[in-house]
């Protein structure tokens, strides 16, 4: 039976070639797909029911993907390569003959007055959002794009836009009405409202995503799939540049920090190779030997004392590295939850200890706000001054960095042409057990302009750390 599917589906349009193009697009989006996986993908086509699009989607995902966070990109590409219904009847073929009929009747007044269809669509949207049926919502999104999404082509030849749909329907303004419906009149202001709000947010996001998908499909028909695929795919979360991180990316980054911090904590505490054992436990060995007739076949050892490192984090929180420092403070917070020997210091042109803001369980965003308000990190005008900051640090906390502590400096090393304070840093590095500097700037910019990164790199091990992937690399090689 599976053979029949292949031969019938393989003939028109070269299914194999199509799959090949899809695999290549997935690869170009930054998801590593090996040859054996591509072969497996071809095998998937022979096993799944090709008429069932969702089966194909999940089937190919099972062989092509290797991590959970690749799924969003994959889905975007899948929708482009295996679009829902290229045929014009597709809207109706979802099993709703009257849906098709409605679309036709809506088309007619569209020619006359613009206002009428969008008002009716808006009503329908409100109803669908209140019901919350995702499949219905997606179907509606397709229809809404068909009716409202097109405009005269822009210079780049693009004529489908999701903003037109969103503006015509303005779903955000439906929130109050929906809230009313979900709460059924009672219980405003309490928990029920918060839950309902969350639900509405989720449904609106679903609708928006469905509109985007449909618009991309239309654009792809117009301007070619490959071009759309390139612009539609966002970088994976661990490739996002710290210095350019958007508000929305930060939540994603925060999710990635926790496991990284755990790994870093393990790396720093388990210095010796696993499996090496401590002193002989004589008593236990003798006792165990009784089972083997008094021959001590297996020796038992006392566990080694766990090494408790002290980590000193020195973090630049000036405006130029805002995205990065946000991230590193999140890392500091996560580290604090894993081991107690972390002391955190922040500086702009002066230094202050900020450990107290990172009690386990504290909210990172809140801690960052409090640092900005309460910590004494600005002495003069609020531009970074590494020389002064380092001096203040060495001066006020002379004993913090010692032979048991690891020093982690986080910053771009841009001194605003002020003295970099190299000797102070060199002294700190000498006193510490190990010292590393994570720099969020690309290596080629080090030493350009007011950057003293190259000078610092001579006295301390400086690592380029522009995104979470690079941080993960650093943690593994530590």
């Amino acid at each position: 039976m599976s053979g029949a599917v292949v031969s019938s589906a393989g003939a028109p349009g070269g299914l194999g070639g199509h799959l090949d193009g899809f695999v290549r697009a997935v690869r170009e989006a930054g998801i590593p797909v090996g040859i054996s996986q591509a072969v497996d993908a071809a095998e998937i086509l022979t096993v799944v029911d090709l008429l069932d699009r969702e089966q194909l989607r999940h089937g190919l995902a099972a062989v092509l993907l290797q991590r959970g966070n690749q799924r969003a990109i994959y889905d975007t590409l899948f929708d482009l390569w295996w679009p829902l219904g290229d045929r014009p009847v597709a809207v109706a073929d979802d099993g709703e003959p009257d849906g098709d009929g409605e679309a036709v009747t809506l088309d007619a007044p569209d020619a006359g007055g613009e206002l009428d269809p969008s008002a009716r669509l808006r009503e329908e949207l409100a109803r669908l959002l209140a019901e919350g049926d995702e499949a219905e919502l997606a179907r509606f999104a397709r229809r809404a794009v068909a009716l409202l999404g097109q405009t005269s082509p822009s210079p780049s030849g693009q004529s489908w836009f999701s903003y037109r749909v969103m503006r015509a329907l303005s779903p955000d303004s439906l929130v109050t009405q929906l809230l009313e419906g979900l709460l059924g009149g009672g219980g405003r202001g309490g928990m029920a409202e918060q839950v309902a709000r969350g639900e509405i947010r989720e449904r609106l996001a679903t609708f928006k995503a469905a509109v985007d998908t449909e618009v991309r499909r239309r654009q792809a028909e117009e301007r070619g799939r490959d071009r759309i695929a390139k612009s539609a795919v966002k970088p994976l979360a661990d490739q996002i540049d710290f210095l350019r991180a958007q508000q929305g990316d930060l939540a994603e980054l925060r999710r990635m920090v926790a496991p990284l911090a755990r790994r870093l904590a393990v790396r720093l505490s388990a210095r010796r190779r696993m499996g090496r054992q401590g002193r002989l436990d004589f008593r236990k060995t003798v006792r165990a030997s009784l089972g083997t007739g008094g021959v001590p076949v297996v020796t038992h050892h006392r566990p080694r004392k766990i090494h408790k490192p002290e980590l000193v984090v020195l973090c630049d929180i000036s405006g130029s590295v805002a995205g990065f420092s946000h991230f590193t403070l999140m890392l500091t917070q996560a580290l604090r939850e894993h081991f107690s020997g972390v002391r955190a210091f922040a500086f702009v042109d002066s230094t202050d200890e900020v450990t107290r803001f990172f009690t386990p369980g504290a909210d990172v965003a809140d801690a960052i706000r409090r640092i900005g308000r309460e910590a004494d990190v600005v002495a003069f005008e609020g531009h970074s001054d590494y020389g002064n900051a380092l001096e203040v640090f060495a001066d006020r906390w002379p004993t913090v960095v010692g032979p048991k502590s690891s020093l982690l400096v986080l910053g771009d090393g841009r001194t605003n042409y002020r003295p970099p304070g190299l000797p102070v840093l060199a002294d700190l590095v000498n006193r510490s057990r190990s010292a590393h500097w994570l720099n969020p700037e690309p290596r080629r910019l080090w030493g350009s302009g007011d950057s003293a990164a190259l000078k610092y790199a001579e006295v301390v091990d400086m690592v380029e750390c522009r995104n979470a992937a690079q941080l993960a690399d650093f943690v593994t090689t530590l």
């Binding site: 799944v48 089966q55 496991p259 083997t292």
Partner: protein, 295 residues
């Protein structure tokens, strides 16, 4: 090279998977059913990755129940080695055997040697047990990410050929290939080589509809209206940035708790009293109380 034994597929279609798993008490969605079906058809191990408490281990158990197979479980932990995963010689018994033969007076070395490396002295661990079984088997390798990297190398060998070479005994080849399910909490990246050999299934928290069905099938006495409220609240909690988001198993615990307490509606008071069932960090509880306006 001996090909790994081929197996007749155990499921006829994706909907068959869904039907039989749900008969075994596990409600699937399209993604789970499709991936399980493919793993069965292609004879590949299934790697299930996702946060704790999303039903990864449960899936393996249901799979065993649905295919009338026995579940053999290898729980991974830091320091797991060959002796615990594959096989080990029972050296204590071997020593006794040698001493006994000495007591009998000058036994022939060859016979002793043949004797002590026999079946009798072999301690079979989960991997070897699964390979040697002739009845249907589901091999669950749980929390693979907890094991050391070396164990992955061992798994690669076993999972690609389904054979184990014991120097003294020879090569043991599986007569019947076990269905293999690996689970991982993604606390560390598994090696590319291992992932490539598996079908990948990312399990996340279920959709509202599916979770409602799960709650109602596991806690059938719960009123549907309350189940609905419960699931919506759980989803609101998951949308917050918590240290530990409530898992499916905690949803079920919560449902059970509400049932035991005889609560018939989930209002602020009821949640405040029972929040400890789903949120187990003090900071998470405070946060939820603030964001959901519980007080």
């Amino acid at each position: 090279m001996p090909r790994p034994p081929t197996q007749l597929p155990q499921f006829s279609s994706v909907s068959d998977v869904a039907k039989r798993l749900s008969a075994a008490g596990y409600l699937t969605d399209k993604q789970i059913a499709t991936t399980v079906f493919l793993a069965d058809r292609l004879g590949k191990p299934l790697l299930v990755e996702g946060p704790a408490g999303t039903g990864k281990t449960e899936l393996a158990k249901a799979l065993a129940a649905a295919t009338d197979a026995e579940l053999i479980r290898l729980q991974c932990y830091e320091g797991l080695d060959e002796a615990r995963a594959l096989y080990e010689w029972n050296y204590k018994k071997q020593l006794l055997r040698i001493q006994a033969s000495q007591a009998e007076g000058g036994a022939n070395w060859d016979s002793v040697h043949d004797d002590i490396f026999g079946e009798e002295f072999l301690l079979s661990r989960p991997l070897l047990t699964a390979i040697r079984r002739t009845e249907p088997t589901v091999l669950l390798i749980d929390e693979t990410d907890k094991a050391d990297v070396e164990v992955e190398g061992l798994l690669l060998e076993v999972l690609s050929d389904f054979q184990v070479t014991i120097p003294e005994l020879g090569t043991v080849v599986a007569t019947r290939r076990p269905t293999v399910v690996l689970t991982s909490n993604a606390t560390r990246e598994l090696s590319e080589a291992l992932k490539r050999r598996c079908l990948y299934l990312a399990l996340d928290y279920p959709s509202a509809e599916r979770e409602r069905e799960i709650v109602l099938s596991r806690v059938p006495d719960l009123a549907p209206g309350l189940a609905d409220q419960l699931v919506r609240t759980i989803r609101a909690l998951r949308a917050l940035e918590l240290k530990k988001s409530p898992s499916i198993s905690e949803t079920l615990d919560w449902a059970q708790t509400l049932l035991e307490l005889g609560l018939d509606t989930l209002d602020e008071g009821a949640i405040g009293d029972t929040l400890g069932v789903v949120l187990k960090h003090a900071s998470d509880q405070e946060r939820a109380a603030a964001e959901l306006r519980l007080n």
